[in-house]
């Protein structure tokens, strides 16, 4: 496996830290809501807290694209994010119509993020098949 750039190492550390923060926010939020410990308007704030580190991961990816000096590796990542966006948005569009016509149930919006990350993997496969290197 090729040696990873400093930008890649920094990106990984950011993702690790943000994932830990995500757990630190999510677990108390779930516990608090389950046991009805969170009063009134504070519920909105606590409910949004686990979303913030996920948004941070998107920011970390943007930062990585800015910091990565290897233009080929950067291009691989850009192609992956395009794949991820196209895949998740296409899926959401199809699912939205199916849901609108009552053919499938409603789904939580954050599944889009899961699909987006799955799309990153698809982009990596496409990169490997067409350019010989997967990327991230």
């Amino acid at each position: 496996m090729a040696a990873r750039s400093r930008a890649w190492v920094r990106y990984n550390w950011r993702v690790v830290w943000l994932s830990l923060v995500y757990c630190a926010f999510l677990i108390p939020a779930v516990y608090g809501f389950k046991h009805q410990l969170i009063p009134g308007a504070l519920q909105y704030f606590v409910a949004i807290l686990p979303a913030l580190p996920i948004i941070g991961i998107f920011g970390a990816m943007g930062r990585y694209l800015v910091e990565e000096q290897d233009e080929f590796v950067r291009m691989l990542m850009v192609r992956q994010t395009l794949w991820a966006s196209a895949f998740s948005l296409s899926f959401a569009t199809v699912y939205g119509f199916l849901s609108n016509f009552g053919l499938v149930g409603r789904a939580d919006g954050y599944w889009m993020v899961v699909l987006w990350f799955f799309g990153l993997g698809l982009g990596g496969i496409y990169n490997k098949l067409t350019l010989g290197a997967a990327g991230c």
């Binding site: 090729a2 040696a3 750039s5 000096q69 290897d70 233009e71 080929f72 590796v73 291009m75 067409t130 350019l131 010989g132 290197a133």
Partner: protein, 71 residues
Amino acid sequence: MENRLRLLRAERNWSQQDLGQRLEVSRQSVNAIETGKYDPSLPLAFRIAELFDLPIEEIFVSPSTRSSKAI
């Protein structure tokens, strides 16, 4: 883009990793350029040319030159 990078590298007994380190890019970048799957930017093409002390056109084959020769 067709190029002579693999040949020039082999003449110097460099691995793709060696060349990547000299150019400050990954081994997979070198491989993608050598196999013509990726065309380097102008700054990277200049870095390659300077490393081998050759003009860019002696390393990379212009697509227009190549097609006119084919005609």
